[in-house]
Amino acid sequence: MCTTCGCGHGETRIEGDALHGHDHVHVHADGTVHSHGHDHAHGEPHDHGSHEHDHGHGVAGQHEHPHVHADGSTHSHAHVHQGAHAHDHAPGSFKPVEGHGHLHYGHGPAHTHAPGMSQGRMVQIEQDILAKNNAYAKQNRERLAERGIFALNLVSSPGSGKTTLLVKTIEALKGKATVAVIEGDQQTSQDAERIRATGAPAIQINTGKGCHLDAHMVGHALEKLPLADESLLMIENVGNLVCPAAFDLGEASKVVILSVTEGEDKPIKYPDMFRAARLMLLNKCDLLPHLTFSVDKAIEFARRVNPDIEVIRTSSTSGEGFDAWLAWIEEGAALARSRRAVSVDVLKRRIAELEQQLSTK
């Protein structure tokens, strides 16, 4: 197991259902065969006959096409599929995209040609280790953007007061905005139950041994969660200041919560998280009179790793900072709504243009 955080996989559950993965093999019209794996929650309907599912395709939707050149040399291009799987494999129509990989035969490990010597072949991959997660995150982000949903990924160490803050936030937003919640914890659905008690829909992801949520889990949770158009989605990540920093879930922003009962030097002890966040909530500020915590120092440390980070002092007990926090949320939500309106307008204009073209034919 991981020596650092002990995280692993294979025990992820969404509301008690395990995620199961398996492989599919596809034959394209030109006879090329490729396969990819996909996961689905147990008992969830999924279609094996059609090729138009959106479960992400291979490594970031990438696969290779070998070509034989006139001089007999062979090389292959990798290309990436985004979204729907409509593409043309007819000879001559293939266009390599940026970032294509090359497969060279006859190169030794040191890239030297050594005739007569046994050698493995070199395969260039040049892919980010998180490519798969990032492809799922992109899908989630597009799905949310299409519907004008403003999504936040709330991250902190355990015990910072995330869930209490979230409950108070939902209560304060009642009648003003619709909120849905994805809760991430290693075990139990206690947090989702606390959220549901407010009347907001919530779905619990149990990561099992995993120390963070990933974009694939969130994609499945999005399918199950009743989300209204132009609403808010709050994703409460697993309490952990390390791993969730690296995993994009498709959110608009990460919000890091640092409670004043922790050390003010946390931002430089765990710089990746504070660098990834757009906003820091300094929480439990009602306790400041009883502590030696320096707010100025904490903000200075946070800005050292992330000069652009915004800071709001909050307390779920006294309500301090909630006006600023709710205004910050509304600003982001308004942007998500206006972007959706723009894309709807663009589509309407495009439809009008196409209709005009059709009517003149």
Partner: protein, 113 residues
Amino acid sequence: MHEMSLAEGVLQLIEDAARDQGFTAVRTVWVEIGQLSGVEPEAMAFCFDAVSRGTLLEGARLEVVHVAGSGHCYECGRDTELQAVYDACTHCGAVPVHITGGTEMRVKELEVD
């Protein structure tokens, strides 16, 4: 941080490449790890061994290509080395420095059979 998940990410990338390109065993994996990526190369190697058991990576050698942290100083406009994301400019001592390199974690290349 999360080296186990990353090692599993490496395995997935390589398994997919193996399906597409028809190789069945891997001799060497070159992975590029930046100084500022938050990835501990030793923990990565440990986890790589753990996840490779019983897969096409079993017995493969992991070669970590280190990439130094580098940045551009907002204050004096010069390029500077960085050991950590919050380091000050080595020339003028200013913080923060705009990070320009050293955050990568990529599978670069494979030697396969």
